[in-house]
């Protein structure tokens, strides 16, 4: 033993006792010489309890040190006398630095005076819980939840405080509030858009009929211009409906080109911006709502244009993209068409970038903050993804990923006006008299005998009576929503239950309704959204009768 070489030494050992138990011991040894013989005088001290306490303390300290919450001790002056590791890292200080500071130097809401009054409150109530804001060494601030307890230790007064960083919770709360705000706005917008659509339908139909009737070219010219204005109003209500409930897209399998080129060129007409397209001929077909995707392209191109006040080039590139499983954080595996719209504009700071898809967020004086929020909602409804890359002064690039169509469905044919003649009896059910009048006139003009009823019960009664008499109808157009009466869905259900096989068409101003998107699932032959033009109704009948 080394103790031989020294006069005194001190060790810690584990000693085994007679009963087999093991004790922690501290051994103090001193060597002494008697008659030329070296001997060791050892005093053994049982330190088992002390060791255990030490270990418990170490564990406690480790627990506090690795805790994600900050733990502090402050004296009556607000000076930090202790801080755990989280307490220091959360604020960006070293422990040494933090212990030179006071609580009012890291709490954004506190001053020395306020601390004094707070100290008295804590002293009186012994406990104090609040939400507050802490300031890091770099000046940035973050929300915290504080729980403080007053206590006396060694005859001195202290406050022991825990602080939890609640940035994430606050962010989630803010998003929830935003979502609720968006939902109530959506309900309002959707409601107005629905009623407005019905009114537009009336105006639309009558002007359409008047334009056909008139022999006066000046009047025809005015009516055509009015129709164009109503067309714009219809697209506005369409946008409101899209935004209000995300709008279930009315998808059709189509080619994206030259649709993208046309939409982009139209959005840039009259500007000093040039546009370059890189769209391969073999671009996959996509299953999409032309109206909605048009809205997305329009929004992105207009944003790009506005970011380039001095002119420049906008590049629109499309690519086929196969995403393997688990390769992309937000995209499911599968085939996508990636549409990238790149501008040479001002670009965006990171702070702005994080908010651009938030509803009501805008950097434009006349913006409503709905453009990109609507884009986001549309692309989400298409099971796609919209992303952005941007740096201040470097321009921005928006990427839209649209799922490619599956199967070998051919692209939808463009509506072409072909002559159509109807015959037989056609029933129209709608609670709005002017809609009945318009449909009556349109259907009669192509040769039908038209029966108009204002609720579902009358429609069912009439058709069943005709069937009982051995007669049949050419078809029926049924309004889905009839306030206080039987709507189109129930009518279709009852008729189909009674083995009625005539073509049934659903119509609604609520264009996002599932029955409009999937009419067959409800016993309908097809659907048409309000407001519709004469040509659209005729085309529907031509296709299905």
């Amino acid at each position: 033993m080394r103790v031989q070489d020294k006069k005194h030494d001190h060790f810690e050992f584990k000693h085994r006792l007679c009963d087999g138990s093991i004790k922690d011991v501290e051994v103090w040894s001193s060597s002494f010489e008697v008659n030329g013989r070296q001997l060791l005088h050892s005093i053994i001290h049982d330190i088992t309890d002390r060791k255990q306490t030490e270990q418990e303390l170490n564990m406690l300290k480790a627990t506090i040190d690795v805790a994600s919450d900050a733990a502090y001790w402050m004296d009556s002056e607000g000076h930090f006398v202790y801080a755990n590791t989280s307490g220091c890292t959360m604020l960006g200080y070293t422990c040494e630095e933090l212990l030179k500071l006071s609580v009012y130097e890291v709490n954004a809401h506190l001053t020395y005076e306020k601390w004094s009054s707070m100290w008295n409150t804590i002293r009186t109530h012994k406990k104090y819980t609040a939400e507050s804001t802490h300031r890091r060494k770099d000046g940035s601030e973050f929300p915290v939840e504080i729980a403080s307890t007053y206590f006396i230790y060694g005859g001195k007064e202290y406050v022991n405080g825990f602080a939890r960083d609640i940035s994430l919770r606050k962010q989630t709360e803010a998003e929830l509030i935003k979502a609720q705000k968006l939902e109530s706005l959506g309900l309002l917008a959707g409601g107005i858009a629905h009623d407005f659509n019905n009114l537009l339908g009336g105006i639309f139909g009558f002007i359409d009929l008047a334009a056909e009737e008139t022999k006066d070219n000046t009047v025809l010219n005015y009516l055509t211009k009015t129709l164009a204005a109503i067309e714009r109003a219809r697209s506005l209500t369409g946008q409101l409906l899209t935004f209000s409930k995300g709008g279930v897209p009315l998808k059709k399998i189509c080619k994206l080109s030259p649709f993208i080129e046309e939409t982009t060129t139209f959005a840039l007409s009259g500007s000093n911006i040039q546009c370059e397209f890189f769209i391969p001929d073999n671009l996959w077909l996509c299953d999409f709502d032309k109206n909605q995707i048009g809205q997305v392209i329009d929004n992105l191109v207009i944003n790009a244009k506005q970011a380039m006040s001095d002119g420049g080039v906008i590049t629109v590139a499309c690519n086929n993209l196969t995403v393997p499983t688990d390769q992309h954080p937000s995209l499911k595996a599968g085939r996508f068409v990636k549409i990238s719209i790149k501008d040479q504009g001002t670009g965006m700071s990171k702070e702005i970038l994080s908010k651009i898809f938030d509803p009501f967020f805008t950097t434009k004086k006349s913006g409503n903050g709905l453009g990109l929020a609507t884009c986001f909602s549309i692309i989400k409804q298409h099971d796609g993804l919209i992303e952005v890359e941007s740096e201040l002064g470097q321009g921005s690039t928006f990427h839209v990923f649209l799922p490619a169509a599956t199967g070998d469905n051919s692209p939808d044919q463009l509506i072409t006006q072909k002559s159509f003649t109807g015959n037989g009896l056609f029933l129209v059910m709608d609670d709005q008299e002017y809609i009945l009048n318009i449909c009556h006139d349109i259907l009669e003009s192509v040769g039908f005998n038209v029966v108009c009823v204002e609720n579902g019960q009358k429609a069912v009664d009439f058709i069943l009576k005709e069937m009982a008499a051995g007669k049949t109808l050419a078809g029926a157009l049924l309004d889905i929503t009839v306030p206080g009466g039987m709507g189109g869905i129930t009518v279709a259900k009852e008729l189909r239950a009674n083995r009625c096989t005539i073509p049934l068409f659903a119509t609604s101003g609520h264009t996002e309704e599932l029955v409009i998107v999937k009419p067959q699932a409800f016993g309908f032959t097809a659907s048409i959204k309000k407001p519709f033009k004469k040509i659209e109704l005729i085309e529907l009948l031509r296709k299905y009768l």
Partner: protein
């Protein structure tokens, strides 16, 4: 052997001390003597302890022990 006779260690410092005391031969580790407090702590009699080596008590391995 009787330590008291051989080395003249005062009884009061050894027998009556509340601290556990062992007298050990540092070259072999042999326990020469143990005081009553040591007998009480370890649980072996004085005679038993005097036949034991410190290695019988120490829970560290030989290597660890001599490394210290």
């Amino acid at each position: 052997m009787d330590i008291k006779n051989d080395f003249s260690i005062p009884d009061v410092l050894f027998k009556n001390h509340a601290a556990v005391i062992l007298i050990i031969d540092p070259s072999t580790g042999q326990i020469f003597d143990a005081n009553p407090a040591a007998v009480c702590f370890y649980g072996w009699s004085r005679e038993q302890l005097q036949k034991m080596n410190i290695r019988d008590v120490n829970n560290l391995s030989e290597k660890e022990l001599f490394g210290q």
